[in-house]
Symmetry: C2
Subunit: 246 residues, 2 copies
DNA sequence: ATGGTTGAGGCTGTATACAGATTTCCGGTT
DNA sequence: AACCGGAAATCTGTATACAGCCTCAACCAT
């Protein structure tokens, strides 16, 4: 019997990924109501896993529940995306502050410094020369370690949740589709902030750590403003920005 | 035909309320796995609404999903509850800061000042004389208005979510079962912080507003420490503290 | 012309049967 | 005695039938 990977994954998982993909792609504009029966026919899956998948997407924040049952695609305005980025800054700032205040283990600090050094080596001689893909991976690692160093599962869950909206993720402007001059140049500033974060945490300077992390998130804000206001053609190249409304 | 209220509400809602009640009451210790079939038999409801209810409870943060399906009751340590309170402080602090920085409408400010005045009138001549029940209601209103004044649906959702854990709610220590001297006395300090919050927001002092709100949440932290360390008999009288572990 | 009422269509809520997967326990073997 | 294997029990995943409710539209009455 041939190995069927699609047979291994549940129908719920298929529906979840498929619906998420279509929503993020902008196939369903914000406010669109999703009906179980047509979706079940489209995806060739019964209503039960569709329901389950929509419930998960509501948990992710991509769908809203209607009072009398049913789901609609959540709509995001430009201001909403800015607020989501600011929120991430606040939460990561709190993680940084707690890491500094409560102290981190030498192993944790070493881990972070290791990623910091590897991020450094992504930059070449010219200021335009950056290994974008490697930077993107390492940046995700850096942020994951930061959240970990706070040592709070409650905070970790909230950050995971707030970060699940793709445009609010620390990697939002680091997809391979956004390898553009203006974003590449912002990485020098970002890396300097990474350095400041490690310095603040290792010196147990909580307030400095908190506000550096906040300002770090605001790089994403500036990148977003550039995309929306000055170069709207890029909108579809930033993950999740396809569902942006009005 | 007689009016059947139970016939109006769905089985999902019944299961949701019933399970939530039992979890918060501590009937299922943290880590307990909840099986669909026995629960369906116990509650005289089929598996489908039970599943749906458990999915909602996972969204609320009371249950965790297992990797291969199924749910377990989430376990909270003392440190987790402290972190949840600190998190609320951070989020409400952000709401206060944004309200101050972005400015609020005269109507919004008047609304908040109205509740502030009514909170004042809950206090009697003696420092021990407080209309506890009225204060509890108005306090909830005050916090709701604060979140509203920030004018961010993204932030509002996060605060609603973080606050859904009963012990992290601004009203956690204001249930009628916790009408105790030491909690009543903390209300004078809390009300002074309410005043400072209104002052800071109306003067557009963002930083002051943010840190007053954080400190305000830490009253709950002190109350919690009192309950746990000095008067454990009270644990079962604080909403949601029944599911606290180790 | 406007308002209310009634009916039909369609959507979600629920129960249940069956299938697939996983875990557990028991027995045998090394 | 410990470990491995297999079978049974049990749990979740899924499809589907049916019931109830909500909405919307059309028609009738005033």
């Amino acid at each position: 019997m041939a190995v069927e990977d699609t047979g291994r994954t549940t129908h719920t998982a298929v529906a979840l990924m498929e619906l998420r993909k279509r929503i993020l792609n902008g196939d369903f504009p914000g406010g669109t109501r999703l009906f179980e029966v047509p979706l079940a026919e489209t995806l060739q899956i019964s209503r039960t896993p569709i329901r389950e998948a929509m419930s998960r997407l509501a948990e992710e924040g991509l769908l809203d529940r209607l009072t009398n049952g049913g789901f609609v695609v959540r709509s995001f305005t430009f201001a909403d995306v800015l607020d989501a980025i600011e929120l991430r800054g606040v939460l990561e700032g709190t993680a940084a502050r707690l890491a500094a205040e409560r102290g981190v283990t030498p192993e944790g600090l070493a881990q972070m410094q290791g990623v910091l050094a590897r991020l450094d080596s992504c930059f070449g001689a010219s200021s335009d020369d950056v290994d974008f893909e490697a930077y993107s991976d390492l940046n995700a690692q850096f942020h994951a370690i930061l959240v970990n160093l706070a040592g709070s599962v409650v905070l970790q869950r909230e950050i995971d949740r707030a970060t699940r909206l793709p445009f609010a993720s620390p990697s939002a402007f680091l997809s391979d589709k956004t390898n553009i001059d203006i974003f590449r140049q912002s990485l020098h500033v970002a890396q300097e902030q990474h350095r400041a974060l490690v310095s603040a945490i290792s010196s147990r300077e909580g307030t400095r750590a908190e506000f550096v992390a906040r300002e770090h998130a605001r790089i994403a804000r500036r990148n977003l403003e550039y995309v929306i206001l000055e170069n709207p053609d890029l909108i579809m190249r930033v993950p999740g920005l396809g569902l942006l409304n009005s």
